[in-house]
């Protein structure tokens, strides 16, 4: 593998719950190449989401290093992690997490606005919108969209600023089988046609099969 886009070494995360320390990650080493579609599977409590949150800059690591494109993000301040989320990472969540008061178009536009870009996305994004198949639904608010449509809008929002990494946390967890396949197809297309690096958490082996590679986690470690 050439230089990995994501390089994780000895990553540990300990949460303080009341007076008890809970180790969520117990020394994770992982490399992810640029353009790779990686699935991460494992039981609940295995540390998948914590790993995502650290890579995505939502929480700091307790120990170890995480390098994205050569930049060590494990020592970033809160403001630095905010900048990371704005510029390098796009999130897709199981519960879609669209802003309910805004239309689909505005949900996408606000991601550009927060990143300091103008409202109109670049031509490359138009192709992504075609792949997502939501061009006709952009004027609707989330409540008027199906689950599959909401998740595709969330995908559009996640990639509108061309992030280095797309982090998808159980993206099909709330979808029926038809929409599951549709969303996974779109993610695979984004990866193949646009070279989008994707890390996807899933419990679903069929979903994991869409990825190039699958890693398994258990008890805060990668086990295979």
């Amino acid at each position: 593998m050439s230089d990995p886009l994501i390089e994780i070494r000895g990553l540990r995360k300990v949460y303080r719950v009341g007076k008890v320390d809970v180790a969520a990650l117990r020394g994770v080493d992982l490399d992810v190449a640029a353009g790779e579609f990686l699935a991460i599977v494992g039981p609940s409590g295995s540390g998948k989401s914590t790993l995502f949150h650290i890579i995505g800059g939502l929480t700091p690591a307790t120990e170890g290093s995480v390098r994205i494109g050569g930049q060590d993000i494990s020592s970033l301040s809160d403001a630095g992690r905010t900048q990371l989320r704005r510029d390098k990472v796009g999130f897709v969540f199981q519960k879609f997490n669209l802003l309910p008061n805004l239309t689909a178009a505005d949900n996408i536009a606000i991601a550009r606005y927060i990143a300091g870009r103008d409202r109109n996305a670049d031509p490359g994004f138009a192709e992504a919108l075609k792949l997502l198949g939501i061009s006709e639904r952009l004027d609707h608010k989330p409540a008027a969209l199906s689950g599959g449509e909401q998740q595709r809008v969330a995908l559009a929002r996640a990639i509108v600023n061309h992030p280095a990494i797309l982090l998808a946390d159980e993206p099909t967890g709330n979808l029926d089988s038809e929409n599951t396949v549709a969303v996974l197809d779109v993610m695979r297309d984004l990866n193949r046609r646009l070279g989008q690096t994707i890390l996807m958490i899933t419990h679903n082996p069929e979903a994991a099969a869409f990825a190039h590679r699958t890693v398994r986690m258990r008890d805060g470690r990668i086990v295979g």
Binding site: A79, T82, L84, R86, F91, L99, L102, I110
Partner: protein, 367 residues
């Protein structure tokens, strides 16, 4: 985009937004009504004093600007002043409270007619009998009175309404001076004296004469007297202080309303705040959205409050035209707006800062 997000947030919970604006409007209305009533009542007093047609007012020693208690001036002083050089006329007047906001005035109608040109009668005419009463149009409307009717609720005396006159001169209720002096127990006494000079150019000379003759008395030209009728001068600045207290209460109410409203809004939008943070929104961005929402509610509340002050004025005019006079005070609109903005910004600060400091993971997990 921030404005759009803020507007959509406000539209998302329209009842909460409207209720908050209404509650913010309440202190704005209170302040505007209080200032409007103060100024309106003072302007009304000045207009009525000017309506006497006098050039100079002689008030008893130690009297306040707005109110006169009793009738301490001997009536014979009226003739004495009327005989002074350059004095065309002197009119003695007695005033007595009927309610906290209404006074009945006793005058000699012929002298008043000579000094001011007299009343303009809308119904009936001048006094025909010592127990006659003249009311102005506002009092007549408020109490549904017409010429020829009898009233008994003024000093427990039976009065016949001799005439209804155009408002703006002396008082809402005018009776013959002798009758009022006897009823109020001030026979031979008066409350103040209006003096008219031979011509306008003589006013300074007459003023100097009167001040030399009556050094203990408060003597003003009409111009001086009406210019002194300001909020700042009433009761040694007490009204001004009262208005300042109301302004403070306005800030506190605006603060409390917005604090509760925005605190609830932040709780309800915890997940949305998490979403914005996941998208890379800074603490300042989150704070800005909350503050902008509060500012819009503050401005909306100010506009509603201004509208309600017009409604209050219309209500007063309809129900109590003779008791209260409320002026519309556009110069206080920006002040009231600033007061509510200070309140809402202070109120939005804590919810805004707590929203900005939220942990994105916890916020995203919020159900």
């Amino acid at each position: 985009m921030t404005v759009k997000l803020v507007i959509e947030n406000l539209k998302h919970k329209p009842m909460r937004s409207l209720l908050s604006m209404f509650l913010i409007a309440v202190p704005v209305t209170l302040i505007l009504c209080l200032v409007g009533l103060s100024r309106g009542m003072l302007a009304d007093s000045a207009r009525r004093a000017r309506g006497s047609g006098a050039d100079i007012i002689v008030r008893p020693p130690g009297s306040s600007l707005l109110t006169l208690s009793g009738a301490p001036i001997p009536e014979k002083m009226v003739d004495f002043l009327g005989r002074q050089p350059h004095v065309a006329q002197a009119l003695g007047m007695i005033t007595h409270p009927v309610t906290s906001a209404t006074f009945v005035m006793g005058i000699d109608l012929n002298t008043f007619n000579g000094m001011s040109g007299g009343f303009k009668y809308l119904e009936g005419g001048p006094f025909q009998d010592p127990n006659d009463l003249i009311v102005d149009e506002y009092y007549a409307r408020q109490n549904k009175l017409h010429a020829g009717r009898y009233v008994t609720d003024i000093l427990n005396h039976r009065w016949r309404v001799a005439g209804v006159v155009e408002g703006g001169k002396l008082s809402h209720l005018i009776v013959p001076i002798r009758t009022l002096q006897d009823l109020a127990g001030y026979t031979g006494k008066i409350s103040l004296i209006y003096v008219k000079a031979d011509k306008a150019g003589d006013i300074p000379v007459v003023m100097a004469e009167l001040k030399a003759l009556l050094p203990e008395y408060n003597i003003y030209t009409m111009e001086e007297f009406t210019s002194l009728l300001t909020v700042e001068n009433v009761q040694g600045g007490a009204l001004s202080t009262f208005i300042n207290v109301m302004v403070g209460i306005g800030v506190v109410i605006g603060f409390a309303v917005v604090l509760l409203s925005m605190y609830m809004a932040v709780l309800q939008r915890t997940r949305e705040i998490g979403i914005l943070k996941a998208l890379g929104a800074s603490r300042w961005f989150i704070l800005k959205v909350i503050l902008a929402e509060a500012v819009i509610m503050g401005l909306g509340g100010t506009i509603v409050g201004i509208g309600l002050s017009f409604a209050a004025r219309a209500l007063i005019l309809a129900l109590y035209p003779a008791s209260l006079t409320q002026a519309i005070t556009p110069d206080w609109w920006p002040i009231a707006g600033a007061i509510s903005l200070v309140g809402v910004l202070l109120g939005a600060l804590y919810p805004g800062l707590s929203a900005a400091a939220q942990d994105p993971i916890e916020a995203l997990a919020y159900e």
